[in-house]
């Protein structure tokens, strides 16, 4: 399984691998929103948690269709399925690789972009914590969507439509953590719900994704 993780990371960082795509998109959103909304610090501070979370979520969505589609097209998915690692494990490793190249960089860069949006100082810790807790759920849920649409030619639109509703709870609780944290309020409840979504999705969805891939391959 480590071999698969190393291969996926290596492919992501090689030319045409798509690393940085999500990050660049996130940067664009955070730079363009203040220009569109105007320079009033109070307005920006109010919308910063929501914008940062929406930006991170859409950035994640951008690279989802690559998770399985590339392996499906060149035949690797057939060969991976007949290899010694269980399909469920393969799906989990691929979701982890996706998180390492999109979710993790987004989490690390988010505080810098928070400055652009005038996020109150008390919110930075919660921004990083909520993204760190929430983005793994985005990758796992996204991998499930990618597994469902892997056999569909240009399934990107279908994938977005399938995955967006599933992303809503993560977005609500993630943005809520930052909003409350920035105002100095209690954050334990949304934080625990966010962690619950991530843990639940990571525990269950690899099995659903593997089942979807088996049906596609037959």
């Amino acid at each position: 399984m480590r071999a698969l993780l190393i291969r996926d990371l290596r492919l992501a960082f090689r030319s045409g691998g798509g690393f940085g795509l999500g990050l660049a998109f996130f940067l664009l959103v955070a730079v363009l929103v203040p220009l569109g909304v105007g320079p009033q610090g109070s307005t920006l501070a109010l919308i910063a948690p929501g914008i940062l979370w929406v930006g991170a979520l859409l950035a994640c969505l951008l690279s989802l269709d690559r998770i399985f589609a590339l392996d499906f097209e060149d035949g690797s998915l057939d060969l991976l399925t007949t290899s010694p690692i269980p399909l469920e494990g393969m799906v989990a490793v691929k979701a982890l690789a996706h998180w390492l190249v999109t979710g993790l960089p987004l989490t690390v860069c988010a505080p810098v972009l928070g400055v652009l949006l005038n996020l109150p100082a008390s919110g930075y810790v919660w921004l990083v914590l909520s993204l760190g807790l929430g983005t793994p759920a985005l990758s796992v849920i996204g991998a499930f969507g990618a597994a469902l649409t892997v056999g569909v030619k240009r399934g990107g639109l279908l994938l977005s439509l399938l995955v967006l509703p599933l992303y809503v709870p993560t977005l609500i609780f993630g943005a809520e953590v930052v909003k409350r944290g920035a105002l100095g309020m209690e954050v334990a409840t949304p934080l625990m719900l966010l962690a619950g979504i991530t843990l639940g999705a990571s525990a269950m969805l690899p099995f659903a994704s593997a089942a979807a891939i088996r049906i596609t391959l037959r």
Binding site: L4, R7, R10, L11, S15, D74, G75, D78, T82, R218
Partner: protein, 207 residues
């Protein structure tokens, strides 16, 4: 352990294509499958590889003993020849990359990215993958496509070496691989007589 297939019925797109296929393959032997295009050779091989369920009949073999070589080689253009092979070797827990490259005459190309290989070189790399899986049963679908005569001979030698070590191979091919001792199974008599009567899989309506 032998590969035993008895009364196997396989389907593609909800229609049965082959029925009543039975054969037994013992250690050190190869079976060549023949038949016209569209008869269901690929479907049969995919069923053997466990990628799709059989409609009826049974396949018995040792667990985790099968390596599948499809039409597509499963290569990553951004990785070098050595990295491509190294990945499959690590995945299967073997360490014979250098040997596999030597056998398929790829040693000079080890640092070349797979995207820059010719079609025949890609195929050789795809076949070298079989060597690093370390699995005894090779199920191969048209392994010689885009190979030149010399490479076909090279692959024939590799195949004979594999059989000599007690391996097995089921190969769908239209050309002569230089294995006169291999049994040949013509699949034409097994063509499904009433393809429309096939039990449609529950998921075919959804996909």
């Amino acid at each position: 352990m032998d590969l035993v297939v008895s009364d196997l019925c396989v389907a593609r797109g909800g229609l049965t294509v082959l029925e009543g296929v039975s054969f037994r393959l013992t250690s050190g032997h190869a079976l060549i499958l023949r038949g016209p295009n569209g008869l269901g050779k690929t479907t049969l091989l995919r069923t053997l590889a466990g990628l799709q369920p059989a409609v009826s009949g049974s396949i018995s073999m040792a667990a985790e003993s099968l390596a599948y070589g499809a039409h597509a080689d499963g290569l990553k253009g951004a990785l070098t020849v050595e990295e491509n092979l190294g990945f499959w070797a690590a995945l299967h827990g073997t360490a014979t990359v250098a040997d596999a490259m030597k056998h398929m005459n790829l040693s000079d190309l080890r640092a070349r990215r797979a995207a820059n290989l010719s079609a025949g070189q890609k195929r050789r790399l795809g076949l070298a993958r079989l060597l690093v899986t370390g699995r005894p049963i090779w199920v191969l679908d048209e392994p010689t496509v885009s190979l030149d005569t010399a490479s076909v001979a090279l692959f024939g030698a590799v195949l004979r070496g594999h059989l000599g070590q007690g391996g097995m191979a089921v190969i769908a091919t239209h050309i002569d691989l230089g294995l006169p001792e291999a049994a040949v199974l013509d699949l034409t008599p097994f063509k499904a007589q009433h393809p429309l009567s096939a039990a449609t899989g529950g998921f075919d309506e959804a996909f």
